[in-house]
């Protein structure tokens, strides 16, 4: 009785979901909750700080960065599609554009933060608004940077000729993470640059 015999009667298909995809979705669920808590703190604290500048006095809406980040999702989608159809050069081109757009986003945030911290002396400890703003945006940017690390790794491997259509699933799973980071930016942008900038109390 060391094993249960396979009965020949039920030779039908037995297909379960890919563990990579399920695990990535689980990770995304866990990350979503972390972001949700930071968003709740941000919303709850709008209008509560007892000192420091208001959002309207300090925030500059990052339109170009936002366009860059959101369009990077599109280029990444096309890139993975190109990989699946074995068009490696097209994949590398689109993947490179995705990487560049992501880097532009981080560069934009860095410039903006430098201006706020260096020129306006507005830091994470200046006020409660500083704490919630830098924490939420910083949490998101740190996820973008993690994503860029993965993007660069795949890009370098691709340039070295190591990425083949058989790696489509891994690359596709990675792309879930990047799309998630983009989707979070939509939420962060709405919360920070639409709701709090216009002084809407929650």
């Amino acid at each position: 009785m060391s094993s249960i015999p396979v009965s020949a009667s039920t030779e039908q298909e037995w297909v379960l979901p890919s563990s990579g995809k399920v695990s990535m979705l689980c990770l995304i669920a866990a990350e979503s909750v972390i972001f949700a808590i930071f968003v709740v703190a941000y919303l709850y604290y709008i209008g509560k700080p007892t000192s420091g500048p208001t959002p309207a006095e300090i925030l500059k809406v990052p339109i170009i960065d936002t366009i860059c980040l959101l369009s990077s999702s599109l280029t990444m989608h096309w890139a993975t599609r190109a990989l699946r159809h074995d068009r490696i050069k097209m994949f590398l081109l689109l993947w490179g554009i995705t990487l560049a757009l992501g880097l532009k986003f981080v560069e934009g945030t860095a410039t903006n933060w430098y201006w706020m911290i260096h020129d306006r002396h507005f830091t994470i400890s200046t006020s409660l608004f500083g704490t919630t703003f830098y924490s939420l945006v910083g949490l998101h940017v740190s996820h973008v940077i993690i994503g860029l690390t993965g993007l660069s790794l795949i890009f370098v491997l691709g340039l070295a000729g190591k990425i083949k259509p058989k790696h489509f699933e891994s690359v596709d799973i990675f792309s879930y993470y990047w799309h998630f980071v983009d989707a979070v930016w939509v939420v962060v942008f709405t919360v920070v640059y639409v709701i709090s900038l216009h002084g809407i109390q929650v």
């Binding site: 009785m1 060391s2 094993s3 249960i4 015999p5 396979v6 009965s7 039920t10 037995w14 379960l16 979901p17 890919s18 563990s19 399920v22 695990s23 689980c26 990770l27 669920a29 866990a30 990350e31 909750v33 972390i34 808590i37 930071f38 703190a41 709850y44 604290y45 509560k48 700080p49 007892t50 000192s51 994470i124 400890s125 006020s127 409660l128 500083g130 704490t131 919630t132 924490s135 949490l139």
Partner: protein, 532 residues
């Protein structure tokens, strides 16, 4: 040390949890010595505060969770008929993160105040309410060690949760549809989903606390407009699902063991699954019943009273189904079954005091008293620890190939049962008489003395019980009776392979047609799949 095998990692998790059980138990014992008589000076007030902080943190994060993850790791792949977890390397990573978290927590005893002040553990309770955790009130580094320990073990827990979830989703053997999974797999699946969603709020809150303490942030700084109450919300939105993360695997053990020792199929399998899904869903909506004393608006109080009471419905369904399983069965009173029967009684009582405390006006009277302490120990010890012991006696033969001694097992059961009831039954009384939690001593004329003495005497029986248990595990490993593949005449897949199972688990991956594949194999004339 570098293994990625799910069975070895499972046993490592369990061994690690048992080690910390000894440490957390020692902390509890010192507290009970201090409280046994009025006006004692066995330990100072500061040390007492450190003891209850470390006891709570240790027991939740470094005893119960690792032990339950250990059992999930060991059993889930065997019971769903696969060779390993979906992500074996993540599994090893998760274990070592949890292990490192525990070491970090206890490093605070040495490094809390830097090199000067050895012996300064955090004094913040396991929920670490703000503003007690701010730089002004928690000087030194001990609180930071606590925060980092929870953060890191939380990463390990989420890793384990993701792994268990995707193993069950993606690695079930041929034929094992969702409705044919053993209940243990179902319940651990739900637990894993809750870990993924429930631990993350704590991770976020700990990040905020670190920002406050290290970067001068103001999340919980009331001077700057921050709120201390929002920490409570963030903590308990983790903290209450956490209770169910701990108790659902305990339900899983009971759901496997009770049918085998009643010689009947589990009563109402689909309802059991539905009930646990309802519990998991509701458990995310009840957190503020820990906060009735913070003066929430009355509609908020009413909502949390009602949602908390609603959880009693699916929980009650589960208890009735276990009773329905036992009802008219050929009951075998082996040690695992004894622990499960005690669990049914104790979990019911713990649940009933829970309903009492879920009533806001009642809670206003008894909040922060020993009644609350007695209530949640009834769940965690009387509910969870008893089924964990049952699981030890039930699956020890599978993991080692030898039976645990029945006589010693029964001695362990009775000693621990007596100790448990002496301690936690009588702990309700000083609570009702108004004895607050976390006080390090009390005056003789309060009338709490006799109750506290009985509570402390109970600890002696519990320690004796645990000593018998540890001796039994060691002695049986050396000279226990050989177990064979299937010592309990059970029905799930782990009993179809050898004891201990080979590293590949199954020579040939099994295929199932019902919830009890081994029954089908042993009774080809009357297989389960002709009914399901």
């Amino acid at each position: 040390m570098v293994t990625v095998d799910h069975k070895k990692l499972g046993l490592m998790y369990i061994a690690y949890g048992l080690l910390f059980l000894a440490i957390g138990g020692a902390e509890a014992t010192i507290m009970r010595i201090q409280l046994a008589l009025p006006d004692m000076h066995f330990v100072s007030p500061e040390v007492f505060s450190e003891l209850f902080t470390m006891h709570g943190t240790t027991m939740i994060f470094f005893v119960v969770m690792p032990i339950l993850f250990g059992f999930a790791n060991y059993l889930v792949p065997l019971m769903i008929g696969t060779r390993d977890m979906a992500l074996p390397r993540l599994n090893a990573f998760s274990f070592w993160m949890t292990a490192f978290g525990g070491l970090l927590l206890y490093y605070s005893f040495i490094g809390g105040d830097g090199v000067y002040g050895a012996g300064s553990a955090p004094q913040i309770t396991w929920w670490a309410y703000s503003p007690l955790t701010s730089r002004a009130f928690s000087v030194g580094n001990s609180t930071d060690f606590w925060t980092l320990a929870i953060l890191i073990s939380g990463v390990g827990s989420v890793g384990a949760g993701v792994n268990i979830f995707s193993t069950i989703a993606c690695r079930r053997c041929r034929g094992m549809t969702l409705s044919k999974m053993p209940l243990l797999a179902w319940l651990n699946w739900v637990m894993a989903a809750m870990v993924i969603l429930g631990i993350s709020p704590l991770t976020a809150a700990q990040l905020m606390l670190l920002i406050d303490r290290y970067l001068g942030g103001h999340f919980f700084d009331t001077q700057a407009g921050g709120s201390a109450v929002i920490w409570m919300h963030f903590f308990w939105v983790f903290g209450h699902p956490e209770v169910y993360i701990l108790v659902i695997p305990a339900f899983a053990f009971a759901s496997e063991i009770i049918p085998v020792f009643s010689r009947k199929v589990i009563f109402g399998y689909p309802i059991m699954v539905a009930a646990v899904l309802a519990i998991a869903f509701l458990s995310f909506s009840v957190w503020a019943h820990h906060m009735f004393a913070v003066d929430m608006p009355s509609y908020a109080n009413a909502y949390f009273v009602l949602s908390s009471m609603l959880i009693a419905v699916p929980t009650g369904i589960k208890i009735f189904n276990w009773l329905g399983t036992i009802w008219r069965g050929k009951i075998i009173f082996a040690t695992p079954m004894l622990f499960c029967i005690a669990f049914l009684f104790q979990f019911l009582i713990g649940g009933l005091t829970g309903i009492m405390l879920a009533t806001a006006p009642f809670d206003w009277q008894l909040n922060d008293t020993y009644f609350v302490v007695a209530h949640f120990h009834y769940i965690i010890v009387g509910g969870i620890l008893f089924t964990v012991f049952a699981a030890f006696y039930y699956w020890y033969p599978k993991a080692t190939g030898r039976m645990m001694d029945e006589k010693l097992g029964k001695l362990h059961f009775w000693l621990f049962l007596i100790g448990f009831h002496l301690t936690f039954d009588f702990m309700h009384v000083p609570g009702i008489l108004g004895m607050p939690r976390r006080i390090y001593t009390y005056q003789a004329n309060r009338g709490w003395g006799i109750w506290n003495l009985i509570v402390s005497i109970g600890v002696i029986f519990q320690i004796l019980g645990i000593a018998v248990f540890v001796y039994n595990m060691i002695a049986s490993y050396v000279k226990g009776e050989p177990a064979g593949n299937d010592p309990w005449d059970a029905w799930t897949l782990e009993w179809s392979t050898s004891s201990p199972p080979p590293s590949y688990n199954f020579a040939e991956l099994p295929e199932v047609r019902s919830r009890r594949p081994l029954w089908d194999l042993k009774h080809p004339e009357d297989p389960d799949w002709s009914y399901e």
